[in-house]
């Protein structure tokens, strides 16, 4: 196990390093001069030079890269040009909204998808099965931000059950805050759940055909007992894979959905940073989000082995 973990760990760190390198190259080397981007093309030469010096842009690229990485590791992310606030503080503020939102969306996704998937598989080839699958096909086709707008129309504009957007902050009590995150989480979860429900259903049906299920049924287990005791655990491997792949979409989704609901999370921070040409904030946020996706894939790799110990023996 330790060797397996070690290999995964090395791959994880290498991917992080690769991602940081790509982000640095794209955002720091390619554009020529970030100071010029910030000040605009009409800025006087002396102002550009002064800002370049302030941002450390007059140092060679490898120095800048390692300064950035050491800053990231020590928690010193620099100071935002637009807000004149430490970037770390901005990011922590954003995370306090985005992280609960992502966790809520992920939990809703898994809950909805597993129940629908198991429900449909248990009624394979019936009208209910077809109905659930048709619904999920529709769910995949609906853009999450449109669903968000429809939810606002129904629950905020017509029914007045929720507010149309905004975030009261955690200081006002967790219930109010969670209430503000509920519609955004539903909008994020629906599309993902539609995909995951299909995967769950087909994976269960696949495993149902295996010999060990026939053995379990032959020794007298009911269909239901075989499902819960033997099929589900085996059917979870593709489901977990898709959950991992979906995490990237979820992260991308939060960027969009936070803008629909005016939530002061990471997505909105990135978006405003782009409009303000605040490249330092963009760079740190993109690195953080990419880091989340890579870390999630690492966790999924480990989860495989926890679900299916057979994989450990096969692991290269």
């Amino acid at each position: 196990m330790s060797l397996f973990l070690l290999r995964r760990m090395v791959a994880f760190l290498a991917t992080l390093a690769g991602a940081s390198f790509v982000i640095f190259v794209v955002l720091d080397i390619l554009p020529g001069n970030a100071a010029l981007t910030i000040l605009g093309p009409d800025a006087p030469q002396s102002a550009v030079a002064a800002l370049s010096h302030k941002l450390g842009l007059d140092q060679p690229a490898p120095t800048r890269y390692f300064n950035w990485i050491f800053g990231l590791l020590s928690g010193d992310l620099g100071v935002s040009y637009a807000y004149d606030t430490p970037v770390a503080q901005l990011i922590l503020g954003g995370l306090s909204v985005s992280l609960p939102l992502a966790v809520m969306a992920m939990a809703l996704t898994t809950l909805i998808a597993l129940s629908l998937g198991i429900f449909a598989a248990a009624r394979h080839n019936t009208l209910l099965d077809t109905g659930v699958m048709t619904l999920s096909q529709l769910g995949i086709a609906i853009p999450n931000f449109w669903l968000a707008i429809l939810l606002i129309l129904l629950f905020a504009v017509h029914l007045h059950w929720f507010s149309a957007g905004g975030f009261p902050g955690w200081g006002e009590g967790p219930l109010l805050a969670l209430r503000a995150l509920f519609l955004p989480a539903v909008a994020l979860a629906m599309v993902q759940a539609a995909i995951l429900a299909r995967v769950t259903r087909s994976s269960i049906l696949e495993v149902m055909r295996e010999d060990f299920v026939r053995t379990a049924r032959a020794k007298g287990l009911t269909w239901r007992a075989a499902l819960w005791r033997h099929v589900l655990r085996n059917a979870m491997i593709p489901v977990v894979t898709i959950i991992g792949l979906q995490f990237g979409n979820l992260i991308a989704g939060t960027v969009v959905i936070e803008n629909v609901f005016y939530l002061p999370g990471l997505g909105r921070l990135i978006f405003q940073a782009i409009n303000n040409r605040d490249l330092i904030v963009v760079r740190d946020c993109v690195m953080l989000l990419a880091g989340f996706v890579v870390a999630m894939n690492f966790v999924i790799d480990i989860a495989y082995v926890a679900i299916d110990p057979r994989l450990k023996a096969q692991a290269p």
Binding site: T15, G18, A19, V22, I23, V26, L27, L30, P31, T37, Q137, L138, I140, A141, I142, P143, N144, F145, W146, I149, L150, I152, L153, V157, A164, S202, L245, G248, N249, I251, A252, V255, V256, N259, V260, I270, F271, A273, I274, R277, L279, V282, V286, L289, A290, V293, V294, N297
Partner: protein, 281 residues
């Protein structure tokens, strides 16, 4: 009965493929007609008649600047297809080449190509588009490039996996015995055999590209005015949710139907091109 005839028969009897094809044809026809005719010029402003309710003159009504919503939807179809086709083409050409080379050369080339494609998954289309627009400014070209880049590893993975399966077949061995090199075998035998898989993937990526373009345009990072875009129409509609909620309905339906159509066609093609899979379902 010839193979083609049986394919057509099966296609017509495959409900999701038939429905999907109808929706895709509707999308293509709308875009094609909009090139020659729209009820009103899509970007013509008519402030006195802004936010008009649906009527005979304006089937879907007008938006906050008095533009005809039906005409904007028609012109938006063109925009979605443009972005989808180019973004998928970028991903398909580069990704298939990388995947085919990886499968043909094995060893460290395959390892490097696949590791690189692995970590591009750390950058979902929206994130890479955000980086590009942060640098180059928003616009349709940048969003196409961003979505296209995101498509490359998708095609690379699918191509490599299917190509690896073809490389183990006996007719490949026969071709090698006949003295053909790896490049010739890839072009003459491997690619034609994995074509169905790539077509299916292209259909599904087309749908994903339409969704991504809509999201980017909604955020203001994609297609810019006066070019019509469904995503941006939704953005404009959101500010008028209390006065004219209907404006938030039409573009969303247009996006959902197009994506649904393409996904159904993709699923249907997968069944039709690989009957073994269809029977197992």
């Amino acid at each position: 009965m010839t193979a083609e005839a049986s394919f057509e028969r099966r296609a017509l009897h495959h409900p999701s493929f038939a429905i999907g094809s109808a929706l895709v044809l509707l999308l293509l026809a709308t875009a094609a007609i909009s090139l020659a005719w729209t009820p009103w010029p899509p970007s013509e402003l008519d402030i006195p008649h802004k936010l008009a309710l649906p009527s005979a003159a304006h089937v879907f009504g007008t938006d906050s600047l008095g533009r005809d919503v039906a005409s904007l939807i028609m012109a938006g179809a063109r925009n979605s297809i443009l972005v989808g086709v180019i973004a998928v083409a970028i991903g398909l050409v580069a990704g298939t080449a990388i995947g085919a080379i990886a499968a043909a050369s094995k060893g460290w080339v395959e390892e490097v190509a696949m590791r690189i494609s692995d970590f591009t998954f750390a950058f979902p289309a929206i994130l890479s588009a955000i980086m590009l627009t942060a640098l180059l400014g928003p616009g349709i070209v940048n969003s196409i490039v961003a979505i296209g880049i995101f498509n490359i590893p998708v095609f690379a993975r699918v191509t490599r996996a299917s190509a690896n399966a073809v490389w183990t077949r006996e007719f490949i061995l026969a071709a090698r015995v006949a003295g053909k090199n790896r490049a010739q075998i890839t072009i003459e035998h491997v690619l034609p055999n994995i074509l169905p898989v790539i077509i299916v993937q292209a259909t599904i990526q087309f749908a994903t590209a339409i969704l991504a373009e809509a999201a980017l345009s909604y955020l203001g990072l994609g297609t810019q005015p006066p070019q019509a875009s469904w995503g941006r129409m939704l953005n404009e509609a959101q500010n008028l949710m209390f006065q004219a909620p209907r404006l938030a309905i039409y573009p969303g339906i247009a996006i959902a139907l197009s994506v649904l159509g393409l996904n159904l066609v993709g699923d249907g093609l997968r069944d039709l091109l690989d009957p073994r899979l269809a029977r197992r379902r």
